[in-house]
C-alpha cells in the first residue's frame, strides 16, 4: 500500500518535471541567452576570479554557485547590510578592489557623484542590450542608456500585513495612511530603519514629492512620524523574523519582501500603496578599482540571461525589469501586488534625486531622523 503511494507520487513528480521542462524549453527558444563575445570570455577565464560586493543573505546562492560551475571562475564575496555602509566604504577608499557591486539607485547616484564607477562595455553585455525595456530608462535620470549600471530588478515600497490579526476589510488598506496614521495595532508595527524611505513615503502619503526639500512639508512629516513612533515596535530593515513569528502584524517593507514572507507564512498579504512610492532599481555596476573587469561583464551578462534573471526574480520576489522575465514568471507571481507594475502606477512614483540626497533636503531629513530616534 505504502509502496504504491510512493510510486504514484514519483510518477506524478516525473510527469510534472517533464511538463516543466517542455515549457521551459519552449520559452527558452523564444527568449535566447545571448553569449558574450569570445574575446570577453577568454579574458575572463584568464582572470579566473570575481570579487563581488553585495547584500548579505539576499540573492539565491545557486546564482553564484552555477556561475562558478558554468565558467570555472571563482567568486569571492563580501557583503554589506545597507546602502549607507556600502557608500561609506567607497568614500573611504574610492579604489576598493571589487569587480561587481550591487548598490540600489541611491547608492549608485552617490557612487557616480563620487566618480568611482567605470563605464560599461555594452558589447560585452548582449543580454542587457536585448532585454532591458525602454520605458523605465526614461525614469532612471541618473544613468541615461544604462551606461554605468544594469538594473537587475526594480523595487517599490509598501507594507506586509498578517490577516490573522489585521482586519483585512479595513478600507484604509491600500493607502499609506493605514501604516502611518492611528490604527488598532500599536506595538505590532515595524518600520524600515531607512531615513530616506520612511520620510519619503510619508511625504507621498501627505501628497507631496518623495524628494521634497520644503521645510513646511517636512515639518508635517516630522509631526506625523513623532506621533507614529509610540505605535512602532521597532525600526528594522529586515524584520523577517518578527513577521514570520507573528510578533509584528503590520510591517513596512520592500513590497517584494511581502511575497517572500508569503511563501513561508500563508496569512501574509502585501500592499502597494495607491499614493505611490519610490521607484528604484538595483543595478550591477563595475567600480574603477575592479581587478577583473572581463569576469565582471561576464557575470552581468549571466545575471541578465532570461533563465537566471527569472530565477533571481522568483528568489527575491521583486519586480522584474527584464522583458523576458516578465513573461516567464508564473501567473501566481504576477498576481501579487507590486510584481508587475502598470504604466499608470509608475507615473505616481518617483526616483530619488539630489533634492533629497544633498543640501537642505538631506540636512532636514537627518534632523528629523535624529529627533525621531532620540
Amino acid at each position: 500500500m505504502k509502496r504504491r503511494w510512493i510510486i504514484t507520487t514519483l510518477f506524478l513528480f516525473l510527469g510534472y518535471m517533464i511538463l516543466n521542462l517542455t515549457s521551459v524549453t519552449a520559452i527558452a527558444a523564444e527568449f535566447p541567452d545571448y553569449p558574450v563575445p569570445e574575446e570577453c570570455l577568454q579574458q575572463a577565464q584568464k582572470e579566473g576570479k570575481l570579487h563581488i560586493y553585495d547584500w548579505a543573505d539576499w540573492w539565491p546562492e545557486e546564482i553564484y554557485a552555477n556561475f562558478e560551475k558554468k565558467f570555472g571562475i571563482t567568486i569571492v564575496r563580501d557583503n554589506f547590510a545597507s546602502d549607507d555602509e556600502y557608500v561609506a566604504k567607497f568614500k573611504l577608499n574610492p579604489n576598493a578592489p571589487y569587480d561587481v557591486t550591487l548598490p540600489s539607485a541611491r547608492g549608485m547616484i552617490q557612487l557616480k557623484a563620487l566618480g568611482v564607477l567605470s563605464k560599461l562595455n555594452k558589447a560585452w553585455i548582449p543580454n542587457a542590450v536585448q532585454y532591458l525595456p525602454e520605458e523605465n530608462q526614461k525614469l532612471i535620470w541618473f544613468d541615461p542608456h544604462n551606461a554605468y549600471g544594469i538594473p537587475t530588478d526594480s523595487f517599490f515600497y509598501g507594507y506586509a500585513y498578517n490577516v490573522k490579526y489585521v482586519d483585512s476589510t479595513d478600507p484604509r488598506i491600500g493607502s499609506w495612511g493605514f501604516l502611518y496614521e492611528e490604527n488598532p495595532y500599536a506595538g505590532r508595527i515595524t518600520m524600515l530603519d531607512e531615513m530616506f524611505v520612511v520620510v519619503g513615503n510619508a511625504l507621498k502619503y501627505l501628497g507631496y514629492s518623495y524628494n521634497s526639500d520644503n521645510e513646511k512639508e517636512l515639518m508635517e512629516v516630522r509631526d506625523l512620524l513623532m506621533k507614529q513612533k509610540s505605535r512602532v515596535m521597532a525600526y528594522d530593515s529586515w524584520p523577517k523574523r518578527l513577521v514570520l513569528e507573528q510578533e509584528a502584524w503590520l510591517s513596512n517593507c520592500w513590497v517584494g519582501d511581502s511575497y517572500f514572507y508569503h511563501q513561508e507564512l500563508d496569512s501574509i498579504r502585501g500592499c502597494l500603496p495607491k499614493e505611490g512610492t519610490e521607484f528604484g532599481v538595483d543595478p550591477l555596476v563595475i567600480p574603477k578599482g575592479a581587478p577583473h573587469p572581463a569576469a565582471a561583464h561576464l557575470f552581468i551578462n549571466y545575471v541578465m540571461s532570461p533563465e537566471v534573471n527569472t530565477q533571481l526574480i522568483l528568489g527575491i520576489g521583486y519586480t522584474p525589469n527584464h522583458k523576458a522575465t516578465r513573461e516567464m514568471v508564473p501567473q501566481s507571481f504576477k498576481d501579487w501586488p507590486g510584481t508587475i507594475i502598470d504604466e499608470a502606477y509608475l507615473q505616481k512614483c518617483e526616483v530619488i534625486n539630489e533634492k533629497a540626497l544633498t543640501g537642505r533636503g538631506l540636512e532636514m531629513r537627518s534632523k528629523i531622523w535624529e529627533e525621531l530616534k532620540r
Partner: protein, 312 residues
C-alpha cells in the same frame, strides 16, 4: 724609553681590560633592548595599527569638510566641533552617560555578592564557577544578543513560561523597551565587573575579617570599613571596564531597543551612514573618546594607581 714602554704596556693592558667590559655592557644593553622589543613589540605594533592609527584618522577627519554627496573635502574647518554644541547632541550624550552609569551600578550590585561568595566559599569549585561566568563571552556578542531576543520576545521563553503558569494572559512586551536596553547592557558587561572584583576579594587576607569580627564589628560595618576600602581597586577597575564600552555601545540599543533609542554610539553610526557625514561622525567620536579619557584620568587621579594596575 722604559717609562714610555711601561706606559704603553699599561695603556694597552688598560685597553685590553677595558674593552671586554664595555663590549659586555653593550651586549647587556643590546640584550635588554632586544628583550624589551620582543616583549613589548607585538603589543605596541597592534596598538599603533589598530588603536592609534584609526584614532588619528578620526581626529583628522573631524576637522575636514563634507561635500554635497558626503565626499570628504580636504579643507580644514572647526565647523563640526561648533555643531557639537547643538542641544540635541547633548541630550543624546547625557542619556548615554545615564545608561552607562545605570549599567555600572547594577553590575556592581550584582557582582559584589557573586564575587564575594565565589572568593570566600567557592572552595574547590572556584575555577569552575569563574569559568561559568566567562563561558558566555566565548560566543560572539551579537549572537548572545540575538539569543537574548528570543528569550525576551513576546513569543519567547519568559513570556511563554509566565503564560503557562497562568500569571499573565497576554504576553508582556519586554523587547524594544528601555528596560530591554538596560538589561542587555548589564547582561553583556557583567563579567567585566565580576572578574576584577573577584581578584580583589581573593587577594584579601581573611584574617582581617576575623579581626574585625573579634573586635565586634557588625557584618554591615565590616563590609564598609574593611572589605570595601580594601577592594576599591577592583571596583574602580571594573567600573572602567564596564562604563567605557557601555557608553559607546551601539548594538544593544539597535537590536534590543529596536533602533528607537539613540545612544552616543548610535548617533555616531547615524552620522557615518544615513546622514553621510563622515567628518561630523568623526567629530562626535572624538568627543566621545575625549569624555572617556577624562573619565580614565579622574579614576586614576582619585582612585589611585593601584586600581589601574589591578585592571591590567
Amino acid at each position: 724609553m722604559a717609562t714610555t714602554a711601561e706606559s704603553r704596556l699599561a695603556e694597552s693592558s688598560r685597553v685590553q681590560t677595558a674593552s671586554p667590559e664595555t663590549s659586555g655592557e653593550r651586549e647587556m644593553k643590546r640584550r635588554h633592548r632586544f628583550q624589551v622589543a620582543t616583549y613589548l613589540g607585538p603589543i605596541m605594533f597592534v596598538q599603533v595599527l589598530f588603536v592609534l592609527a584609526p584614532l588619528s584618522f578620526i581626529l583628522m577627519f573631524s576637522v575636514l569638510k563634507t561635500g554635497p554627496y558626503g565626499n570628504i573635502v580636504f579643507e580644514l574647518t572647526l565647523e563640526n566641533y561648533r555643531n557639537l554644541l547643538d542641544t540635541g547632541y547633548a541630550t543624546v550624550f547625557f542619556k548615554s552617560i545615564y545608561y552607562a552609569l545605570q549599567t555600572n551600578f547594577v553590575c556592581i550590585l550584582l557582582s559584589y555578592p557573586l564575587a564575594y561568595y565565589i572568593a570566600r566559599y567557592g572552595g574547590r569549585w572556584k575555577a569552575s564557577l569563574l569559568l561559568l561566568i566567562v563561558i558566555p563571552s566565548w560566543t560572539a556578542y551579537i549572537i548572545r544578543l540575538y539569543a537574548l531576543k528570543t528569550i525576551l520576545g513576546s513569543n519567547g521563553l519568559i513570556n511563554n513560561f509566565l503564560i503557562d503558569l497562568g500569571v499573565i494572559q497576554l504576553p508582556i512586551q519586554f523587547l524594544y523597551t528601555s528596560y530591554a536596553v538596560s538589561a542587555g547592557l548589564v547582561y553583556t558587561w557583567l563579567p567585566f565587573m565580576v572578574l576584577p572584583l573577584y581578584a580583589a576579594l581573593e587577594g584579601l587576607d581573611s584574617s582581617l575579617w576575623e579581626a574585625a569580627k573579634d573586635l565586634g564589628a557588625t557584618p554591615v560595618r565590616r563590609f564598609f570599613r574593611v572589605t570595601l576600602p580594601l577592594t576599591r581597586g577592583g571596583l574602580l577597575a571594573g567600573t572602567l571596564l564596564v562604563f567605557i564600552p557601555s557608553l559607546g555601545d551601539w548594538l544593544v540599543p539597535h537590536l534590543l531597543g529596536g533602533s528607537k533609542f539613540m545612544m552616543a554610539g548610535t548617533l555616531v553610526a547615524h552620522k557615518f551612514t544615513a546622514a553621510g557625514d563622515i567628518p561630523g561622525g568623526s567629530c562626535l567620536a572624538a568627543a566621545l573618546a575625549f569624555v572617556l579619557l577624562l573619565l580614565i584620568y579622574f579614576v586614576i587621579r582619585f582612585g589611585g594607581r593601584e586600581s589601574l594596575e589591578q585592571a591590567l
